[in-house]
């Protein structure tokens, strides 16, 4: 599973990092530091919660196709 992030539109709400700082690392200004999260197995649920917490709705969840 992957999370794709439209980093240019991040405005620094940091709600994703409030769910998981390791999955969603921030830069020193408090904006998202990455454009994509390769979700480690077992962390799908928390990754989904983090992505959905974004008020700007700039995180797209890509579920693995089975």
């Amino acid at each position: 599973m992957k999370i794709r992030i439209d980093k240019a539109r991040c405005v620094g709400n940091a709600r994703c990092a409030a769910i998981s700082e390791t999955l969603f690392p921030l830069d020193d200004d408090g904006y998202i530091a990455i454009t994509e999260v390769d979700v480690p197995p077992g962390q799908e649920q928390i990754a989904r919660r983090g992505a959905r917490a974004c008020p700007e709705r700039i995180m797209i969840i890509e579920e693995d196709s089975k």
């Binding site: 709400n13 020193d28 200004d29 904006y31 974004c54 008020p55 700007e56």
Partner: protein, 415 residues
Amino acid sequence: MSETLSPAVARPDHITDAVFYDFDMFADPAYLANPHARILDMHKSAPPIFWTPRNGGHWMFVSHSANFEASRDVEKFSSEIVPQSKIKEMLAKLPPGAPHIPQPLPINIDPPDHTIYRAPLQRAFSPKAINELKGSIRELAISLIEGMKPKGSADFVSEVAEPLPVQVFLKMFGLPLEKQAAYRALVKEHMENIKNHDPAMIVRRMLKLTAIMKETILDRKENPKDDLISMLWQTRIGDRETTINDMENYCVVLFTAGLDTVVNGISLGAYHMATHPELQQQLRADPSQIPAATEEMLRRYTFTVPLRRVSNDIEFQGVQLKAGDRIMLFLPGADLDAKEYPNPEVYNHKRENSVHIAFGAGPHRCLGSHLARVELQVVYEELLTRLPAFSLDASKPVTFHGGHVVGPDHVWLKW
């Protein structure tokens, strides 16, 4: 508090019947009696985007989708209520040696300059930097709440909600003790005039603020300390050094954006908890739910109303807007929109979609949101830990004010 309605202005040609609705955001009687109940009613009785003839005539964006889209479209919706080019012209006409008229940058400026003026503040207000302040914010909250506790009944607004953000600021700014009294007096004047939106008076108060701060600002340039002012001197604005005028602008924006917002936010939360004893019980039993409760109270009682100016004639969500029209981003309406939040009137901190826009959306997203969240959470935590079950003091009914920062004038609690 009852207020006189502002006179209705003539309706411009592009305002059709379908988008006309008479609402005075400063004086509507039902709004002042219970703001958020009136907003819920508005979702049923008013168009999602409407024009009101009150207060000079302006648009109100009530739906979530209109607020979200407009906040993120800085080209169509400018934050420069007076265009910066005009402000520059006006300032250039001032006589030489006239005091610098501070401006609340970056609130009232559009990208790309917005980005340049906001950047230096960013790090100091990042989640990481704010987390380091949490301990001292908690100490302040504890001392205010413990100070109020023996009284058995008190106005929560003046005892806790007002002093807390002021003291947090004094700490961040590192203002010397002898200046603090003057600063507090000015905050008091500012709060007492929250209903008065006369621009000349606001400028006078901002000049008073910069007069109080100036000595400290200049001193920190030569003798940096561990405070926000010293830090701001050391950053650059784009490719140039920070000037005293920039420093004054920053002090003004933090003063106007970071005090009465927090006061009203904490007070609305206390009001909700006072009227919902079962929630107090639930949160006392499991304080780990307080962060989620803080978010849901922000959603249920969103209370700030930012302004925009329409840049060019456009059609927006089926409505004709004309260049120069003023827009109220009515965020309290957005967060009570049933299309986004089923049963919006129901407080439920476990609701499926709890993502609100109380701190705005787009590039002007509240710079102080991380600080505000910590202040709110810490106060709720300490209030619930330290006070027994509290309720409203029925002998002193809660009254509300409208305007750009909506909330209760006083919240008398008893316990």
